[in-house]
Amino acid sequence: MSIDRATVAKIASLARIKMSDAELDRMAPELNNILKFVDQLSEVDTSNVEPMTAVIPNKLRLREDAVNADPKTGGDRREDILANAPAAEHGFFGVPKVIE
């Protein structure tokens, strides 16, 4: 499968990465080389194979359905969470106006 410049532009837009025309021109052949490399996977018959979901069998743990049931995984850390925000106001993350 080969992808053209328009497809790269579409993917970049989905990934929310702004790209100039020059970058798109450079990226398209690079991505095609990588896709050509991974295309060899299609030669393997996997019709009876389950896709891997967990590399080491492990049981997903559940915690008690209560706030701060385990302080190690609990919350109540608003200030810590906001500490690195580029714009924090009134205890919230600040963003440009979304609704006109």
Partner: protein, 494 residues
Amino acid sequence: MTNLTDLGIKAIRDGVASGEFTAREVAEGFNANVAAAADLNAFIVTTPDHALSAADAIDAKRAKGEALGSMGGVPIGMKDLFATKGVQTTAASHILEGFTPEYESTVSSNLWAAGAGMLGKLNLDQFAMGSSNETSYFGNVTSPWRRPDGSNTPMSPGGSSGGSSTAVSARLAPAATGTDTGGSIRQPAAFTGITGVKPTYGRCSRWGVVAFASSLDQAGPMAHDVTDCAIMLGAMAGFDPKDSTSLDMPVPDWEAALNSDLKGKKVGIPREYRVDGMDPEIEKSWEQGKAWLRDAGAEIVDISLPHTKYALPAYYIIAPAEASSNLARYDGVRYGLRDLPDGAGLQDMYAETRAAGFGDEVKRRILIGTYVLSAGFYDAYYNQAQKIRTLVAQDFEAAWSQCDVILAPTTPSASFGLGEKDDDPIGMYLNDVFAVPASLAGLPAMSVPCGVNSEGLPLGLQLVGPAFDEQGVMNAGLAIEERAGFTARAEKWW
């Protein structure tokens, strides 16, 4: 008197405990080496005060007769992928420049609790994506090793844990943390003549480690020898309720159980790793490794891992897919860079921030990941790769009925000059062709130095074991280490 910065973890810990020297003397020695090695660019930030205050705490404990911990008095380098409270954590990216965590990663917490201190945050490939340490926003790391041809070409320390490998190899730190997603501990260890262990997936908590590909990422130790790795892995590992894939099982005392007598053990040699056009020096080192393990009492058996050739392409679907998803969090809202042109809206802010904040290799992988996960291509790429991953894991499962540990080269070549592979992403990816299968299967694996090639550059041998059998891997590594007698060091030029 011994030069303290020539010592490894065990010698430092034991010397501090016995009173031969103080932890402060050790920290001062390494701080001085770090300060004098700016040419190597191994550190993004240095934290000499962290190392000194940890050392003083250990010396005070000793004066009071208290236990010092398994890493008591050992200052280490911390890969800048681990969140460290109050110390900038960047993943070598612009998008996280200035990010100062309000929390400490579980692995680094465990190390401080064991008595270690921090010399600084180590440079790496940006978001751990790279095999040469040329994708860092903070510049390339240069290996202390050089070709002896007088050209003084700056050499690659490997990647992504290239700051870690350089720091240990150049004696800027007795040990360092690494992370390994598809070879990022083992390949740089091989390139710089040090030892590195990637444990079983889940041994070390991923909490507080900047995520690249969560189903593959594993932290591990990088140090001078197998014993030091066993000590440090013991300090890093352990169950963590904050990581949903953390292994809830006891951490064995790997150091105490180290044993290089391999009588009764079988070592598998996977025939698919013998690729066409293999570097004859790599092949020779592999043959030598077999002879050493035979000498240690092991029986060598041929095995087959039929899906080996598909592991690397499967990895280059799975890892970018997970990366594209993990890196969606960098949006200029919660932390890190925000690029908001005048009058721009939210969507523009995302796209501008990510354009300015990510390097080329990171963008490339996010785009590949986005593409293979997108509607219409998910089955052909991502699902197919996950099925191949099952097959790769089944290959290993079958092999364990024939052998206890697998021996292979760590890398297809020795280190190369910085810039020599820049134009060829696939060529760069091939560095990890021998490392990736164990990553896909979540298995413990290590690289141990085995000698130097005709250019005087280090080579490593890789050992891979069944899940949870770090001990078997490190025991075989120790058998090689004892016989290889690797003492080569990079001549100091920095």
